[in-house]
Protein backbone atom coordinates (compact mmCIF):
# COMPACT_ATOMS: atom_id res chain seq x y z
CA UNK A 1 0.00 0.00 0.00
CA UNK A 2 1.13 3.51 -0.63
CA UNK A 3 2.18 5.54 2.34
CA UNK A 4 2.72 9.08 1.13
CA UNK A 5 5.54 10.88 2.90
CA UNK A 6 3.80 13.77 4.62
CA UNK A 7 6.18 16.56 3.60
CA UNK A 8 6.26 15.77 -0.07
CA UNK A 9 2.61 15.16 0.10
CA UNK A 10 1.71 18.57 1.46
CA UNK A 11 3.84 20.34 -1.13
CA UNK A 12 2.28 18.39 -3.93
CA UNK A 13 -1.17 19.03 -2.64
CA UNK A 14 -0.59 22.73 -2.37
CA UNK A 15 0.66 22.94 -5.89
CA UNK A 16 -2.33 20.91 -6.98
CA UNK A 17 -4.99 23.02 -5.34
CA UNK A 18 -5.32 25.39 -8.29
CA UNK A 19 -5.88 22.34 -10.46
CA UNK A 20 -8.70 21.22 -8.23
CA UNK A 21 -10.69 24.35 -8.00
CA UNK A 22 -10.75 27.26 -10.36
CA UNK A 23 -10.49 25.33 -13.58
CA UNK A 24 -10.54 21.61 -13.65
CA UNK A 25 -9.46 20.77 -17.13
CA UNK A 26 -7.33 17.74 -16.39
CA UNK A 27 -8.56 14.50 -17.87
CA UNK A 28 -6.88 11.14 -17.88
CA UNK A 29 -6.57 9.57 -21.26
CA UNK A 30 -6.81 5.89 -21.97
CA UNK A 31 -3.11 5.62 -22.71
CA UNK A 32 -2.51 4.45 -19.18
CA UNK A 33 -5.11 1.73 -19.57
CA UNK A 34 -4.89 -1.52 -21.48
CA UNK A 35 -4.66 -0.92 -25.23
CA UNK A 36 -7.95 -1.85 -26.80
CA UNK A 37 -7.84 -5.16 -28.66
CA UNK A 38 -9.43 -5.34 -32.12
CA UNK A 39 -12.21 -7.87 -31.82
CA UNK A 40 -14.27 -9.23 -34.71
CA UNK A 41 -17.79 -10.07 -33.62
CA UNK A 42 -19.73 -11.20 -36.68
CA UNK A 43 -23.47 -11.87 -36.25
CA UNK A 44 -24.21 -15.07 -34.38
CA UNK A 45 -25.22 -18.02 -36.51
CA UNK A 46 -28.69 -19.44 -35.99
CA UNK A 47 -28.67 -23.24 -36.45
CA UNK A 48 -32.41 -23.43 -36.74
CA UNK A 49 -34.91 -21.92 -39.09
CA UNK A 50 -37.31 -21.10 -36.26
CA UNK A 51 -38.02 -17.44 -35.68
CA UNK A 52 -37.47 -17.93 -31.93
CA UNK A 53 -33.92 -19.09 -32.39
CA UNK A 54 -33.14 -16.29 -34.80
CA UNK A 55 -34.53 -13.76 -32.33
CA UNK A 56 -32.50 -15.34 -29.53
CA UNK A 57 -29.35 -15.15 -31.66
CA UNK A 58 -30.00 -11.45 -32.33
CA UNK A 59 -30.62 -10.72 -28.65
CA UNK A 60 -27.54 -12.65 -27.52
CA UNK A 61 -25.47 -10.81 -30.10
CA UNK A 62 -26.68 -7.42 -28.94
CA UNK A 63 -25.91 -8.11 -25.28
CA UNK A 64 -22.45 -9.61 -25.92
CA UNK A 65 -21.65 -6.73 -28.25
CA UNK A 66 -22.78 -4.10 -25.71
CA UNK A 67 -20.87 -5.81 -22.89
CA UNK A 68 -17.60 -6.08 -24.81
CA UNK A 69 -17.86 -2.51 -26.05
CA UNK A 70 -18.43 -1.33 -22.49
CA UNK A 71 -15.43 -3.28 -21.20
CA UNK A 72 -12.91 -0.79 -22.64
CA UNK A 73 -10.66 -3.80 -23.31
CA UNK A 74 -11.83 -4.35 -26.86
CA UNK A 75 -12.51 -2.29 -29.92
CA UNK A 76 -15.23 -3.97 -31.91
CA UNK A 77 -14.50 -3.84 -35.62
CA UNK A 78 -17.04 -1.86 -37.64
CA UNK A 79 -19.60 -4.30 -39.04
CA UNK A 80 -19.13 -3.03 -42.59
CA UNK A 81 -15.60 -4.49 -42.60
CA UNK A 82 -17.15 -7.96 -42.72
CA UNK A 83 -18.52 -7.16 -46.20
CA UNK A 84 -14.98 -6.94 -47.56
CA UNK A 85 -14.18 -10.58 -46.81
CA UNK A 86 -15.70 -13.98 -47.44
CA UNK A 87 -18.74 -14.75 -45.24
CA UNK A 88 -17.95 -16.51 -42.00
CA UNK A 89 -17.82 -20.29 -42.27
CA UNK A 90 -17.61 -21.62 -38.73
CA UNK A 91 -16.29 -25.00 -39.90
CA UNK A 92 -13.50 -23.53 -41.94
CA UNK A 93 -12.23 -20.11 -40.86
CA UNK A 94 -10.10 -18.12 -43.27
CA UNK A 95 -7.87 -16.42 -40.71
CA UNK A 96 -6.07 -14.38 -43.41
CA UNK A 97 -9.39 -12.72 -44.24
CA UNK A 98 -9.91 -11.68 -40.62
CA UNK A 99 -6.33 -10.50 -40.33
CA UNK A 100 -6.79 -8.35 -43.40
CA UNK A 101 -9.49 -6.33 -41.63
CA UNK A 102 -7.29 -5.90 -38.54
CA UNK A 103 -8.97 -8.37 -36.24
CA UNK A 104 -6.80 -9.66 -33.38
CA UNK A 105 -9.48 -11.85 -31.92
CA UNK A 106 -12.47 -13.47 -33.60
CA UNK A 107 -15.53 -14.58 -31.66
CA UNK A 108 -17.91 -16.98 -33.34
CA UNK A 109 -21.31 -17.47 -31.73
CA UNK A 110 -23.82 -20.13 -32.70
CA UNK A 111 -27.33 -20.63 -31.39
CA UNK A 112 -29.27 -23.87 -31.64
CA UNK A 113 -32.70 -24.84 -30.50
CA UNK A 114 -33.00 -27.32 -27.69
CA UNK A 115 -36.00 -29.03 -26.13
CA UNK A 116 -38.88 -26.82 -25.06
CA UNK A 117 -38.17 -23.13 -24.74
CA UNK A 118 -34.45 -23.66 -24.30
CA UNK A 119 -31.63 -22.55 -26.52
CA UNK A 120 -28.01 -23.60 -26.60
CA UNK A 121 -25.51 -20.80 -27.07
CA UNK A 122 -22.02 -21.80 -28.09
CA UNK A 123 -19.12 -19.40 -28.40
CA UNK A 124 -15.58 -19.90 -29.68
CA UNK A 125 -12.64 -17.55 -29.43
CA UNK A 126 -9.91 -17.55 -32.07
CA UNK A 127 -6.51 -15.93 -32.16
CA UNK A 128 -6.47 -14.52 -35.68
CA UNK A 129 -2.72 -14.00 -36.13
CA UNK A 130 -1.87 -17.38 -34.66
CA UNK A 131 -4.72 -18.95 -36.65
CA UNK A 132 -5.74 -21.01 -33.68
CA UNK A 133 -8.68 -21.77 -31.44
CA UNK A 134 -8.28 -20.28 -27.95
CA UNK A 135 -11.27 -21.52 -26.01
CA UNK A 136 -14.96 -22.20 -26.20
CA UNK A 137 -17.99 -22.26 -23.99
CA UNK A 138 -21.50 -23.62 -24.33
CA UNK A 139 -24.53 -22.48 -22.33
CA UNK A 140 -28.03 -23.83 -22.24
CA UNK A 141 -30.71 -21.41 -21.09
CA UNK A 142 -34.42 -20.88 -21.29
CA UNK A 143 -35.45 -18.16 -23.70
CA UNK A 144 -36.11 -15.63 -20.92
CA UNK A 145 -32.58 -16.03 -19.54
CA UNK A 146 -30.90 -15.10 -22.81
CA UNK A 147 -29.46 -11.89 -21.39
CA UNK A 148 -27.86 -13.77 -18.52
CA UNK A 149 -26.37 -16.36 -20.89
CA UNK A 150 -24.93 -13.54 -23.00
CA UNK A 151 -23.46 -11.79 -19.92
CA UNK A 152 -21.89 -15.10 -18.86
CA UNK A 153 -20.33 -15.50 -22.28
CA UNK A 154 -18.98 -11.94 -22.20
CA UNK A 155 -17.58 -12.58 -18.70
CA UNK A 156 -15.84 -15.66 -20.07
CA UNK A 157 -14.33 -13.74 -23.00
CA UNK A 158 -12.89 -11.07 -20.67
CA UNK A 159 -11.61 -13.69 -18.23
CA UNK A 160 -9.85 -15.67 -20.96
CA UNK A 161 -8.37 -12.72 -22.80
CA UNK A 162 -7.49 -10.29 -20.00
CA UNK A 163 -7.34 -12.44 -16.88
CA UNK A 164 -9.43 -9.80 -15.12
CA UNK A 165 -12.46 -10.23 -12.96
CA UNK A 166 -15.33 -9.52 -15.36
CA UNK A 167 -18.28 -7.31 -14.44
CA UNK A 168 -21.10 -8.35 -16.77
CA UNK A 169 -22.94 -10.49 -14.23
CA UNK A 170 -22.33 -8.01 -11.42
CA UNK A 171 -25.27 -6.27 -9.75
CA UNK A 172 -25.91 -2.81 -8.42
CA UNK A 173 -27.95 -2.45 -5.23
CA UNK A 174 -29.56 0.93 -4.58
CA UNK A 175 -32.38 2.81 -2.84
CA UNK A 176 -35.46 3.87 -4.77
CA UNK A 177 -38.73 5.56 -3.82
CA UNK A 178 -40.48 4.45 -7.04
CA UNK A 179 -43.04 2.52 -5.01
CA UNK A 180 -43.65 5.38 -2.62
CA UNK A 181 -41.12 4.66 0.09
CA UNK A 182 -37.33 4.27 0.17
CA UNK A 183 -36.72 0.56 -0.42
CA UNK A 184 -33.78 -1.51 -1.62
CA UNK A 185 -33.62 -2.59 -5.27
CA UNK A 186 -31.01 -4.28 -7.38
CA UNK A 187 -30.30 -4.39 -11.09
CA UNK A 188 -27.85 -5.76 -13.62
CA UNK A 189 -24.76 -3.66 -14.20
CA UNK A 190 -26.36 -2.26 -17.37
CA UNK A 191 -29.56 -1.14 -15.67
CA UNK A 192 -31.66 -4.13 -16.78
CA UNK A 193 -33.76 -6.37 -14.51
CA UNK A 194 -34.52 -3.84 -11.80
CA UNK A 195 -35.87 -5.87 -8.90
CA UNK A 196 -37.25 -4.83 -5.55
CA UNK A 197 -35.58 -6.44 -2.52
CA UNK A 198 -37.33 -5.05 0.56
CA UNK A 199 -41.05 -4.77 1.08
CA UNK A 200 -42.08 -2.69 4.05
CA UNK A 201 -43.29 0.79 4.86
CA UNK A 202 -40.14 1.87 6.60
CA UNK A 203 -37.10 3.52 5.11
CA UNK A 204 -34.25 1.27 3.99
CA UNK A 205 -30.98 3.05 3.28
CA UNK A 206 -27.22 2.89 2.48
CA UNK A 207 -26.95 -0.70 1.15
CA UNK A 208 -23.58 -2.43 0.60
CA UNK A 209 -22.78 -5.81 -0.98
CA UNK A 210 -20.76 -8.51 0.69
CA UNK A 211 -17.88 -9.46 -1.63
CA UNK A 212 -19.50 -12.83 -2.48
CA UNK A 213 -22.68 -11.03 -3.57
CA UNK A 214 -24.84 -13.11 -1.23
CA UNK A 215 -25.53 -10.55 1.45
CA UNK A 216 -26.40 -6.88 1.69
CA UNK A 217 -25.74 -4.78 4.78
CA UNK A 218 -28.09 -1.82 5.06
CA UNK A 219 -29.79 0.68 7.35
CA UNK A 220 -33.44 0.21 8.18
CA UNK A 221 -35.54 2.64 10.22
CA UNK A 222 -37.32 -0.10 12.16
CA UNK A 223 -39.04 0.86 15.43
CA UNK A 224 -38.06 4.53 15.11
CA UNK A 225 -34.41 3.59 15.16
CA UNK A 226 -31.94 3.56 12.29
CA UNK A 227 -30.43 0.12 12.83
CA UNK A 228 -27.94 -1.76 10.71
CA UNK A 229 -29.00 -5.14 9.35
CA UNK A 230 -27.67 -7.84 7.05
CA UNK A 231 -29.99 -9.28 4.42
CA UNK A 232 -29.07 -12.80 3.32
CA UNK A 233 -30.43 -12.93 -0.24
CA UNK A 234 -30.50 -16.71 -0.60
CA UNK A 235 -32.02 -17.41 2.78
CA UNK A 236 -34.28 -14.34 2.67
CA UNK A 237 -33.24 -13.71 6.26
CA UNK A 238 -32.53 -10.39 7.96
CA UNK A 239 -30.26 -10.25 11.01
CA UNK A 240 -29.37 -7.21 13.10
CA UNK A 241 -25.81 -5.89 13.43
CA UNK A 242 -26.38 -2.79 15.55
CA UNK A 243 -29.65 -1.29 16.71
CA UNK A 244 -28.29 1.20 19.22
CA UNK A 245 -28.16 4.78 17.92
CA UNK A 246 -28.20 5.74 14.26
CA UNK A 247 -26.22 3.29 12.09
CA UNK A 248 -25.31 3.73 8.43
CA UNK A 249 -22.77 3.49 5.58
CA UNK A 250 -21.72 -0.16 5.96
CA UNK A 251 -18.73 -1.44 3.98
CA UNK A 252 -17.55 -5.05 3.82
CA UNK A 253 -13.81 -5.67 3.66
CA UNK A 254 -12.80 -7.13 0.27
CA UNK A 255 -11.89 -10.46 1.95
CA UNK A 256 -15.43 -10.59 3.33
CA UNK A 257 -14.26 -11.05 6.91
CA UNK A 258 -15.18 -7.70 8.39
CA UNK A 259 -17.85 -5.03 8.18
CA UNK A 260 -17.06 -1.37 8.84
CA UNK A 261 -19.93 1.04 9.51
CA UNK A 262 -20.88 4.32 11.16
CA UNK A 263 -22.80 4.40 14.37
CA UNK A 264 -23.79 6.80 17.13
CA UNK A 265 -24.09 3.96 19.65
CA UNK A 266 -21.68 5.78 21.99
CA UNK A 267 -23.23 9.22 21.41
CA UNK A 268 -21.28 10.53 18.44
CA UNK A 269 -20.86 9.43 14.82
CA UNK A 270 -17.86 7.10 14.89
CA UNK A 271 -16.58 4.27 12.71
CA UNK A 272 -16.89 0.73 14.01
CA UNK A 273 -15.87 -2.61 12.63
CA UNK A 274 -17.58 -5.94 13.27
CA UNK A 275 -17.10 -9.47 12.01
CA UNK A 276 -18.97 -10.01 8.78
CA UNK A 277 -21.76 -11.77 10.69
CA UNK A 278 -22.27 -8.56 12.68
CA UNK A 279 -20.75 -9.90 15.89
CA UNK A 280 -17.81 -8.62 17.92
CA UNK A 281 -18.12 -4.88 17.22
CA UNK A 282 -15.05 -2.72 17.88
CA UNK A 283 -14.76 1.05 17.76
CA UNK A 284 -12.09 2.50 15.46
CA UNK A 285 -12.37 6.30 15.80
CA UNK A 286 -12.40 8.38 18.98
CA UNK A 287 -13.03 11.98 18.05
CA UNK A 288 -15.70 14.51 18.95
CA UNK A 289 -16.04 15.44 15.29
CA UNK A 290 -18.00 13.45 12.72
CA UNK A 291 -16.16 10.39 11.39
CA UNK A 292 -18.06 8.54 8.69
CA UNK A 293 -18.26 6.95 5.20
CA UNK A 294 -15.70 4.12 5.58
CA UNK A 295 -14.37 2.26 2.51
CA UNK A 296 -11.75 -0.50 2.58
CA UNK A 297 -8.51 -0.67 0.66
CA UNK A 298 -8.26 -3.76 -1.58
CA UNK A 299 -5.57 -5.11 0.77
CA UNK A 300 -8.03 -5.17 3.72
CA UNK A 301 -5.39 -3.33 5.72
CA UNK A 302 -6.57 0.28 5.50
CA UNK A 303 -9.81 2.23 5.54
CA UNK A 304 -10.51 5.59 3.93
CA UNK A 305 -13.16 7.73 5.61
CA UNK A 306 -14.20 11.33 6.13
CA UNK A 307 -13.96 13.48 9.20
CA UNK A 308 -14.67 17.12 9.97
CA UNK A 309 -12.12 17.11 12.81
CA UNK A 310 -10.16 19.85 11.05
CA UNK A 311 -13.13 22.19 10.79
CA UNK A 312 -16.81 22.02 11.71
CA UNK A 313 -18.94 21.34 8.64
CA UNK A 314 -15.82 20.82 6.51
CA UNK A 315 -15.38 17.09 6.03
CA UNK A 316 -12.05 15.92 4.59
CA UNK A 317 -10.82 12.53 3.38
CA UNK A 318 -8.57 10.49 5.68
CA UNK A 319 -6.94 7.07 5.67
CA UNK A 320 -6.36 4.93 8.74
CA UNK A 321 -5.09 1.44 9.37
CA UNK A 322 -7.85 -1.13 9.74
CA UNK A 323 -7.26 -1.15 13.51
CA UNK A 324 -7.91 2.58 13.73
CA UNK A 325 -4.32 3.75 14.14
CA UNK A 326 -2.08 5.83 11.87
CA UNK A 327 -4.74 8.33 10.78
CA UNK A 328 -3.62 10.71 8.03
CA UNK A 329 -5.46 13.27 5.94
CA UNK A 330 -5.30 12.82 2.17
CA UNK A 331 -7.55 15.59 0.85
CA UNK A 332 -6.35 19.16 0.82
CA UNK A 333 -7.90 22.15 -0.81
CA UNK A 334 -11.64 22.40 -0.95
CA UNK A 335 -13.86 22.53 2.09
CA UNK A 336 -16.30 19.69 1.74
CA UNK A 337 -15.48 16.12 0.69
CA UNK A 338 -17.46 12.97 1.31
CA UNK A 339 -18.19 9.38 0.30
CA UNK A 340 -14.64 8.24 -0.56
CA UNK A 341 -14.46 4.86 -2.33
CA UNK A 342 -11.17 3.03 -2.73
CA UNK A 343 -10.55 1.66 -6.22
CA UNK A 344 -10.15 -2.13 -6.59
CA UNK A 345 -6.62 -1.61 -7.94
CA UNK A 346 -5.77 0.33 -4.78
CA UNK A 347 -4.17 3.34 -6.44
CA UNK A 348 -7.15 5.70 -6.49
CA UNK A 349 -9.85 7.06 -4.26
CA UNK A 350 -12.96 8.58 -5.82
CA UNK A 351 -14.87 11.04 -3.66
CA UNK A 352 -17.46 13.80 -3.79
CA UNK A 353 -16.44 17.40 -3.44
CA UNK A 354 -18.79 20.30 -2.96
CA UNK A 355 -17.96 23.63 -4.51
CA UNK A 356 -20.60 26.33 -4.27
CA UNK A 357 -23.52 23.99 -4.02
CA UNK A 358 -22.35 21.77 -6.89
CA UNK A 359 -21.19 18.24 -6.13
CA UNK A 360 -18.73 16.59 -8.48
CA UNK A 361 -16.68 13.42 -8.36
CA UNK A 362 -12.91 13.64 -8.11
CA UNK A 363 -10.21 11.01 -8.35
CA UNK A 364 -7.25 11.16 -6.04
CA UNK A 365 -4.30 9.20 -7.41
CA UNK A 366 -2.46 7.85 -4.39
CA UNK A 367 0.70 7.14 -6.39
CA UNK A 368 1.40 10.75 -7.33
CA UNK A 369 -1.24 12.63 -5.25
CA UNK A 370 -2.75 14.08 -8.38
CA UNK A 371 -6.38 15.04 -8.25
CA UNK A 372 -8.52 14.80 -11.35
CA UNK A 373 -12.07 16.02 -11.72
CA UNK A 374 -14.19 13.21 -13.09
CA UNK A 375 -17.59 14.85 -13.60
CA UNK A 376 -18.41 18.34 -14.75
CA UNK A 377 -22.13 18.77 -14.70
CA UNK A 378 -23.45 21.73 -12.73
CA UNK A 379 -25.46 19.18 -10.74
CA UNK A 380 -25.14 17.08 -7.63
CA UNK A 381 -23.15 13.94 -8.30
CA UNK A 382 -22.59 11.79 -5.25
CA UNK A 383 -22.27 8.34 -3.61
CA UNK A 384 -19.71 6.85 -6.06
CA UNK A 385 -19.05 3.08 -6.15
CA UNK A 386 -16.48 1.22 -8.29
CA UNK A 387 -17.00 -1.76 -10.57
CA UNK A 388 -14.70 -4.66 -9.69
CA UNK A 389 -12.49 -4.06 -12.75
CA UNK A 390 -11.87 -0.48 -11.63
CA UNK A 391 -12.88 0.94 -15.01
CA UNK A 392 -16.37 2.19 -14.13
CA UNK A 393 -18.06 4.12 -11.36
CA UNK A 394 -21.76 4.21 -10.57
CA UNK A 395 -23.10 7.29 -8.79
CA UNK A 396 -26.22 9.35 -8.04
CA UNK A 397 -26.97 12.53 -9.95
CA UNK A 398 -29.80 15.03 -10.23
CA UNK A 399 -28.58 15.90 -13.73
CA UNK A 400 -32.04 15.20 -15.16
CA UNK A 401 -34.10 16.59 -12.29
CA UNK A 402 -34.92 13.68 -10.02
CA UNK A 403 -32.10 11.64 -8.51
CA UNK A 404 -30.98 8.92 -10.93
CA UNK A 405 -28.12 6.46 -11.14
CA UNK A 406 -25.45 6.97 -13.76
CA UNK A 407 -22.29 5.11 -14.66
CA UNK A 408 -19.12 6.76 -15.90
CA UNK A 409 -15.70 5.39 -16.85
CA UNK A 410 -12.65 6.16 -14.74
CA UNK A 411 -11.50 8.68 -17.37
CA UNK A 412 -14.82 10.50 -17.65
CA UNK A 413 -15.96 8.67 -20.81
CA UNK A 414 -19.19 6.75 -21.40
CA UNK A 415 -21.57 8.58 -19.10
CA UNK A 416 -24.78 6.60 -19.12
CA UNK A 417 -28.02 6.72 -17.21
CA UNK A 418 -29.23 3.48 -15.60
CA UNK A 419 -32.54 4.34 -13.91
CA UNK A 420 -35.61 6.40 -14.71
CA UNK A 421 -38.43 5.53 -12.30
CA UNK A 422 -38.76 7.69 -9.18
CA UNK A 423 -35.69 8.83 -7.25
CA UNK A 424 -32.77 6.41 -7.16
CA UNK A 425 -29.72 6.80 -4.96
CA UNK A 426 -26.96 5.29 -2.82
CA UNK A 427 -25.74 2.69 -5.34
CA UNK A 428 -23.26 -0.06 -4.49
CA UNK A 429 -21.69 -2.18 -7.22
CA UNK A 430 -21.12 -5.86 -6.40
CA UNK A 431 -17.64 -7.32 -6.85
Amino acid sequence: MIKPKPTIFVILSLTLTPVLFPQQEVYITLKEGVPAIGLALPNFISRSSSAGTREAAAELYQVVSDDLTYSRIFTLLPKKYYDYIRPLDSSNIYFKDWESIQANILFVGEVTESEGENIVFEGKLYDVKGARFISGKRYQASRNLCRLAAHRMADEIVKVLSGEKPIFTSKIVFVSDRDGNDELYMMDYDGQNQTRLTFNTIRDYTPAWSPDGKKIAYTSYKNLNAGLYILDLEAGKVSPVSTRGTNFSPSFSPDGKRLAFCSTMDGNTEIYVANSDGKNTKRLTFNEAIDSSPSWSPTNREITFISDRSGLGQPQVYIMDAEGSNVRRVSFGGTYHDAPAWSPSGDRIVYVSRVENIFDLYLLNLRNNQIVKLTESNARNESPSWSSDGRHIVFTSNLSGLLQLYAIDYDGANLRRLTSQGNNKLPDWSH
Partner: protein, 183 residues
Protein backbone atom coordinates in the same frame (compact mmCIF):
# COMPACT_ATOMS: atom_id res chain seq x y z
CA UNK B 1 -83.11 -38.78 66.86
CA UNK B 2 -83.02 -37.39 63.36
CA UNK B 3 -85.01 -40.33 62.19
CA UNK B 4 -87.69 -39.50 64.74
CA UNK B 5 -87.89 -35.92 63.67
CA UNK B 6 -88.18 -36.92 60.05
CA UNK B 7 -90.98 -39.32 60.82
CA UNK B 8 -92.72 -36.73 62.98
CA UNK B 9 -92.64 -34.07 60.32
CA UNK B 10 -93.85 -36.58 57.77
CA UNK B 11 -96.80 -37.42 59.97
CA UNK B 12 -97.53 -33.76 60.58
CA UNK B 13 -97.52 -33.10 56.86
CA UNK B 14 -99.95 -35.93 56.25
CA UNK B 15 -102.27 -34.55 58.90
CA UNK B 16 -102.15 -31.08 57.43
CA UNK B 17 -102.83 -32.30 53.91
CA UNK B 18 -105.69 -34.44 55.15
CA UNK B 19 -107.39 -31.65 57.08
CA UNK B 20 -106.95 -29.24 54.18
CA UNK B 21 -108.62 -31.61 51.79
CA UNK B 22 -111.45 -32.17 54.15
CA UNK B 23 -112.25 -28.51 54.54
CA UNK B 24 -115.51 -27.65 52.83
CA UNK B 25 -114.79 -25.54 49.79
CA UNK B 26 -115.47 -21.89 50.45
CA UNK B 27 -117.13 -19.85 47.74
CA UNK B 28 -114.63 -17.76 45.93
CA UNK B 29 -115.05 -14.06 46.61
CA UNK B 30 -116.06 -11.91 43.58
CA UNK B 31 -113.24 -9.78 42.14
CA UNK B 32 -113.11 -6.28 43.44
CA UNK B 33 -114.70 -3.69 41.19
CA UNK B 34 -112.28 -1.87 38.95
CA UNK B 35 -110.90 1.17 40.53
CA UNK B 36 -112.49 4.28 39.32
CA UNK B 37 -109.51 6.45 39.94
CA UNK B 38 -106.65 6.47 37.43
CA UNK B 39 -103.24 5.97 38.99
CA UNK B 40 -101.37 9.09 39.53
CA UNK B 41 -99.25 10.11 36.60
CA UNK B 42 -95.74 10.15 37.67
CA UNK B 43 -93.53 12.23 35.54
CA UNK B 44 -90.42 10.37 34.57
CA UNK B 45 -87.69 12.78 34.96
CA UNK B 46 -84.28 12.40 33.52
CA UNK B 47 -81.98 11.06 36.11
CA UNK B 48 -80.41 13.97 37.80
CA UNK B 49 -77.43 14.81 35.56
CA UNK B 50 -74.17 13.76 37.07
CA UNK B 51 -71.93 16.73 36.68
CA UNK B 52 -68.70 15.37 35.32
CA UNK B 53 -65.74 17.03 36.82
CA UNK B 54 -64.02 19.13 34.13
CA UNK B 55 -61.30 17.10 32.39
CA UNK B 56 -57.85 18.11 33.31
CA UNK B 57 -55.45 18.89 30.53
CA UNK B 58 -53.70 15.68 31.40
CA UNK B 59 -56.90 13.70 30.94
CA UNK B 60 -57.64 15.37 27.63
CA UNK B 61 -54.12 14.48 26.61
CA UNK B 62 -54.52 10.87 27.66
CA UNK B 63 -57.85 10.55 25.85
CA UNK B 64 -56.31 11.44 22.50
CA UNK B 65 -54.43 9.14 20.21
CA UNK B 66 -50.76 9.79 19.49
CA UNK B 67 -51.71 10.68 15.93
CA UNK B 68 -54.15 13.33 17.12
CA UNK B 69 -51.60 14.75 19.50
CA UNK B 70 -48.86 14.87 16.88
CA UNK B 71 -51.20 16.40 14.34
CA UNK B 72 -51.70 19.36 16.67
CA UNK B 73 -47.88 19.62 16.87
CA UNK B 74 -47.61 20.87 20.44
CA UNK B 75 -43.80 20.74 20.15
CA UNK B 76 -42.45 23.20 17.62
CA UNK B 77 -39.49 22.45 15.39
CA UNK B 78 -36.23 24.37 15.46
CA UNK B 79 -33.95 25.40 12.62
CA UNK B 80 -30.21 25.37 12.05
CA UNK B 81 -27.58 27.24 10.08
CA UNK B 82 -26.02 25.77 6.93
CA UNK B 83 -23.56 22.96 7.82
CA UNK B 84 -24.05 23.69 11.53
CA UNK B 85 -25.68 21.89 14.44
CA UNK B 86 -25.37 24.44 17.26
CA UNK B 87 -28.62 25.64 18.81
CA UNK B 88 -29.34 29.13 17.48
CA UNK B 89 -30.65 31.90 19.71
CA UNK B 90 -34.01 31.85 17.93
CA UNK B 91 -34.35 28.14 18.73
CA UNK B 92 -33.87 28.57 22.48
CA UNK B 93 -37.34 30.00 23.31
CA UNK B 94 -38.86 27.22 21.19
CA UNK B 95 -36.96 24.57 23.12
CA UNK B 96 -37.87 26.30 26.41
CA UNK B 97 -41.56 26.04 25.44
CA UNK B 98 -41.09 22.43 24.41
CA UNK B 99 -39.50 21.63 27.74
CA UNK B 100 -42.46 23.31 29.48
CA UNK B 101 -44.80 21.01 27.60
CA UNK B 102 -42.70 17.99 28.52
CA UNK B 103 -42.83 19.00 32.18
CA UNK B 104 -46.61 19.37 31.99
CA UNK B 105 -47.15 15.99 30.37
CA UNK B 106 -44.59 14.20 32.39
CA UNK B 107 -45.37 10.74 31.07
CA UNK B 108 -44.81 11.65 27.42
CA UNK B 109 -41.78 10.38 25.54
CA UNK B 110 -40.49 11.97 22.38
CA UNK B 111 -38.32 11.29 19.37
CA UNK B 112 -36.16 14.11 18.05
CA UNK B 113 -35.52 13.83 14.31
CA UNK B 114 -32.54 15.64 12.82
CA UNK B 115 -32.91 16.75 9.19
CA UNK B 116 -30.65 18.42 6.62
CA UNK B 117 -30.98 20.26 3.34
CA UNK B 118 -30.03 18.93 -0.07
CA UNK B 119 -26.77 20.86 -0.14
CA UNK B 120 -24.99 18.24 1.92
CA UNK B 121 -24.07 14.76 0.75
CA UNK B 122 -26.20 11.75 1.75
CA UNK B 123 -23.63 10.21 4.05
CA UNK B 124 -22.36 13.33 5.82
CA UNK B 125 -25.94 14.55 6.26
CA UNK B 126 -26.83 11.40 8.18
CA UNK B 127 -24.10 12.32 10.66
CA UNK B 128 -25.00 16.02 10.65
CA UNK B 129 -28.72 15.30 11.21
CA UNK B 130 -27.76 13.17 14.20
CA UNK B 131 -25.66 16.04 15.59
CA UNK B 132 -28.63 18.41 15.22
CA UNK B 133 -30.97 16.02 17.01
CA UNK B 134 -28.33 15.52 19.71
CA UNK B 135 -27.97 19.30 20.20
CA UNK B 136 -31.72 19.58 20.80
CA UNK B 137 -31.55 16.57 23.10
CA UNK B 138 -28.69 18.06 25.13
CA UNK B 139 -30.52 21.37 25.44
CA UNK B 140 -33.72 19.74 26.72
CA UNK B 141 -31.75 17.62 29.17
CA UNK B 142 -29.96 20.73 30.39
CA UNK B 143 -33.41 22.15 31.23
CA UNK B 144 -34.08 19.17 33.43
CA UNK B 145 -35.95 16.82 31.10
CA UNK B 146 -35.03 13.21 31.78
CA UNK B 147 -32.87 11.74 29.02
CA UNK B 148 -34.90 8.54 29.42
CA UNK B 149 -37.85 10.34 27.85
CA UNK B 150 -36.03 11.36 24.68
CA UNK B 151 -34.81 9.29 21.75
CA UNK B 152 -33.19 10.79 18.71
CA UNK B 153 -32.59 9.80 15.12
CA UNK B 154 -31.20 11.24 11.89
CA UNK B 155 -32.97 11.24 8.55
CA UNK B 156 -30.18 13.08 6.74
CA UNK B 157 -31.71 14.79 3.71
CA UNK B 158 -34.21 12.04 2.98
CA UNK B 159 -37.28 13.82 4.37
CA UNK B 160 -37.54 17.32 3.02
CA UNK B 161 -40.29 19.56 4.32
CA UNK B 162 -39.91 21.75 1.29
CA UNK B 163 -38.85 20.37 -2.07
CA UNK B 164 -37.83 23.76 -3.41
CA UNK B 165 -34.28 24.73 -4.22
CA UNK B 166 -34.22 28.20 -2.65
CA UNK B 167 -32.56 29.49 0.49
CA UNK B 168 -36.03 29.52 2.11
CA UNK B 169 -36.64 25.87 1.28
CA UNK B 170 -33.17 24.87 2.47
CA UNK B 171 -33.68 26.74 5.74
CA UNK B 172 -36.98 24.95 6.33
CA UNK B 173 -35.27 21.62 5.78
CA UNK B 174 -32.36 22.21 8.18
CA UNK B 175 -34.33 21.35 11.28
CA UNK B 176 -34.98 19.22 14.32
CA UNK B 177 -38.53 17.94 14.64
CA UNK B 178 -40.22 16.54 17.72
CA UNK B 179 -42.48 13.50 17.53
CA UNK B 180 -44.43 12.27 20.55
CA UNK B 181 -44.01 8.50 20.66
CA UNK B 182 -45.50 7.61 24.04
CA UNK B 183 -47.95 9.33 26.38
Amino acid sequence: MIKKIVILTFVCCLVVIFTANCKPKAKTAPPPPPAKEQPKVEKVDEAPAVKKPAMTEEEIFMSKSLEEINLAAPLKMIFFDYDRYLIRDDAKPVLDANSGWLRKFSSAKILIEGHCDERGTEEYNLALGEKRAKSAFDYLVSLGISPQRIKFISYGKSQSLDNGHTEMAWQRNRRAQFLIIEK
